[in-house]
């Protein structure tokens, strides 16, 4: 056996355990889900083959398109803040100050909490009458006695509440990616720019941000995909309320599968969402390549 073959075999031995589990629990369900989407399928198992009926139902389902619109709103309200705050916090955490470590830890800390914890924190803060924010606003006289802001009940405020919780929870991850990218920018570029008389602001806009472009596009792509999959915090904090006005696509898919006991249709919706995300991602990658060519 040649040396290369031995090395390859050794590498395969290390990869195999993970790959086996990945194939069983991630790759196989992808194909199984597609199979389920062509059937009437309940928690009790396969019922009937229905062909494309679930996909035709999806096209006519006003609830699916409404929830897709709601999901787009979640994406539009969280992704820009995640990008801007992520870059801002990374720049702050990258400065050579005594507080550098504290910045890095405190900015990233929310990201290690579970979604249940941050959701209950959000509810504790935003509850009317007894919530932290309500008490604070009353104490400072911003809200008068008997006045309340119903953060968890009114449509626009529901979006804002879930958006704030999501951004606070996720921004640490974005910061980490930008921080790693900032470390890669050679100091000589800044030194040369300083010698040439460039101000800090000019260095930021003409050196830092352009060199962060690849990371920015990667974070943008990751956060768009992640925001499209918003579920747990929206379910726990507002449950898609009022009514179903802020229900996301994944919440509707979950409800269809486990409340309505219709796994086939929920699988079809999952695939529709998957195709939408693939198209978005390809579009983004095409834009990115175009930018690189320029």
């Amino acid at each position: 056996m040649s040396k290369t073959t031995k090395k390859t075999l050794t590498a395969l031995c290390f990869i195999l355990p993970f790959f086996l589990l990945y194939a069983i629990f991630t790759i196989w369900p992808v194909f199984q889900g597609l199979y389920v989407s062509f059937h009437k399928w309940t928690l009790m198992g396969k019922q009937d083959f229905v062909g494309g009926a679930n996909y035709i139902k999806l096209i006519r389902d006003a609830a699916f398109w409404r929830n897709l619109k709601n999901t787009c709103i979640y994406v539009a309200e969280t992704v820009p803040f995640l990008l801007l705050l992520g870059i801002g916090l990374a720049l702050l955490a990258n400065r050579a100050t005594k507080l550098k470590k504290i910045y890095r830890i405190s900015f990233y800390l929310p990201n290690i909490l579970s979604v249940t914890v941050i959701s209950y924190l959000a509810m504790y803060i935003f509850y009317p009458y007894s919530g932290f924010l309500s008490n604070l606003l009353h104490d400072f006289g911003i809200l008068q006695q008997g006045q309340e802001i119903f953060w968890l009940k009114e449509k626009v405020l529901c979006y804002i509440t879930v958006g704030i919780a999501t951004v606070w929870w996720t921004v640490g991850f974005c910061m980490l990616l930008f921080l790693a990218a900032l470390q890669e920018i050679p100091d000589q570029l800044y030194e040369a720019a300083s010698i040439d008389g460039a101000t800090k602001a000019k260095q930021l806009f003409h050196i830092t941000l352009p060199l962060l472009n690849p990371t920015t596009l990667m974070v943008l792509m990751l956060q768009i995909i992640a925001s499209f999959k918003i579920f747990a915090q929206a379910k726990l904090i507002t449950n898609g309320g009022p009514g179903n006005l802020t229900e996301s696509s994944i919440m509707y898919i979950y409800r269809t599968a486990f409340t309505n006991n219709d796994m086939g249709y929920s699988s079809a919706m999952s695939y529709a969402l998957f195709i939408i995300l693939v198209i978005l991602t390809l579009f983004q990658l095409a834009l990115q390549r175009k930018g690189e060519v320029k």
């Binding site: 589990l21 928690l43 009022p242 006991n261």
Partner: protein, 448 residues
């Protein structure tokens, strides 16, 4: 040196693989025992409240039947008492109970039965039984009941209908749990309203009298105290709408032929009556937890389920009464659901399972009444032990006027859709006419 390196590499790979597989095993939250089963096992994931996340991992003791329930906390304790009482009779097959998490009970039950790993006995709501029957999760118990000479006449017609499909019976009713009225007697006294000789409060016999009663409360209660405590979204205003709809003479929301039977005009009327209570601020706005709101003395009346009586009774400084909801329109009706005891498909000994469920329903109803629910057995409600209870006899008549969920496998989907549309109306996003039309659309979609 090369051999040492090779050996180290192999050992490291083996260690990683072992670590990977050991990480895949379920973590045990308890010390290795489950207090709901009494069975020693290290695979069971038990929560701090005694509910089990993976009931299929619980091994039945030798010769025992397995019973999965969705009751925990106080209700779980009452059910454990009933199981202990049955086991004390030295039956051929005693019962072992597992308390499942309420939120995913039906999902776990159905997937377990599908995988042939389900229990012998289960609990179902009347709203979910049609789905379980349709999916073949529960067994026809008619023959077992006939063999045991079970007396079905001991149950209200509405209870019997809820467990009968095509002439066959699929469960034994355990209780009816209805939406009833609780009232703070101190607040009523402060508002100058006296109770009747039997302790009940007269809310009026029609809508106008009811509104006059609420106006009296509103004008005489202290600042910040409201006539009614109710949420403005979710189950409770839906139950109020349901009661009004059927009191107004509304037809079954699912017709006998399986199509939408909702009377849109009456549905709209019922919506308008409920909305009026919100618009006139008889109901406190935007209350998240209307139980806590009532217990804090912030409302004189509280519409909630029979299961709340225990919580209210445990509060020493709360003087309250309870009764069946008032008839304000043409018919007597109130929202209710029912807990039913079922025998699951795949049960090893269905005769033994029937022996247990019939015992619990027909003999342990007084014990179960401690949870606040109304026992389904009529004879139990006539016993001196039941009539001696402080609160329960005052609302037991709700079982006679209860309108249980429609018999369709899609009821849970219909209910979710109805609540969604009603919530839009209560919060002012949609008017009553559009909401009633949306209800028809939602029910039709669910049934298609």
């Amino acid at each position: 040196m090369k051999k040492v390196k090779r050996l180290l590499t192999l050992l490291l790979s083996a260690a990683l693989i072992c670590a990977l597989f050991s990480a895949c095993t379920t973590e045990n939250n308890s010390s290795g025992t489950s207090n709901s089963t009494g069975t020693e096992t290290t695979d069971v994931d038990v929560n701090s409240d005694g509910t089990v996340n993976n009931p299929e991992a619980v091994q039945a003791k030798e010769g025992y039947q397995m019973f999965w329930t969705l009751f925990s906390g106080g209700d779980g304790d009452w059910m454990q008492q009933m199981v202990d009482a049955y086991n004390a009779t030295a039956p051929a097959k005693p019962v072992q109970i597992v308390q499942c998490v309420w939120g995913d009970y039906y999902t776990k039950l159905m997937t377990a039965v599908a995988a042939d790993a389900g229990p012998d006995i289960g609990v179902s709501h009347a709203s979910s039984l049609p789905m379980l029957v349709d999916q073949g999760v529960v067994q026809d118990i008619t023959s077992f009941a006939d063999a045991a000479n079970f007396d079905w006449n001991d149950y209200e017609p509405v209870s019997q209908n809820s467990i009968t499909f095509d002439g066959k019976k699929y469960a034994v009713p355990l209780d009816t749990h209805a939406e009833i009225l609780y009232y703070n007697t101190d607040l009523l006294k402060d508002a100058g309203i006296s109770t009747e000789s039997d302790g009940s409060v007269n809310l009026g016999s029609n809508w106008d009298e009811y509104i006059a009663f609420l106006e009296t409360l509103k004008n005489n209660l202290p600042e910040g105290v409201y006539p009614i405590s109710c949420t403005n979204a979710g189950d409770d205003p839906y139950r109020m709408w349901w009661s009004f709809y059927y009191q107004l003479g509304g037809s079954d929301i699912v017709a006998a032929d399986g199509s939408c039977g909702l009377d849109q005009a009456i549905a709209q009327q019922a919506i308008e009556y409920v909305k009026y209570l919100y618009d006139q601020q008889f109901i406190a706005p935007n209350v998240e937890d209307h139980g806590t709101f009532f217990q804090a003395g912030s409302a004189a009346l509280y519409t909630a389920g029979t299961w709340c009586v225990g919580t209210l009774a445990s509060q020493e400084d709360l003087n309250f009464g309870c009764q069946v909801q008032a008839q304000l329109f043409d018919q007597e009706a109130c929202w209710a659901d029912s807990h039913l005891l079922t025998i699951l498909t795949g049960s090893a000994d269905p005769e033994a399972a029937f022996d247990f469920i019939s015992f619990v329903s027909s003999k342990e109803g007084v014990t179960w009444a401690g949870s606040g629910q109304i026992p389904s057995s009529i004879s139990i409600k006539k016993t001196s032990e039941y009539t001696a209870l402080e609160y329960q006899p005052k609302y037991s008549a709700a079982a006679e006027i209860a309108v249980l969920p429609s018999q369709t496998p899609h009821f849970n989907q219909i209910k979710t859709s109805i609540i969604e549309q009603l919530d839009l109306c209560w919060t002012g996003e949609q008017d009553a006419a559009a909401t009633a039309a949306a209800l028809v659309n939602a029910i039709t979609t669910a049934l298609s």
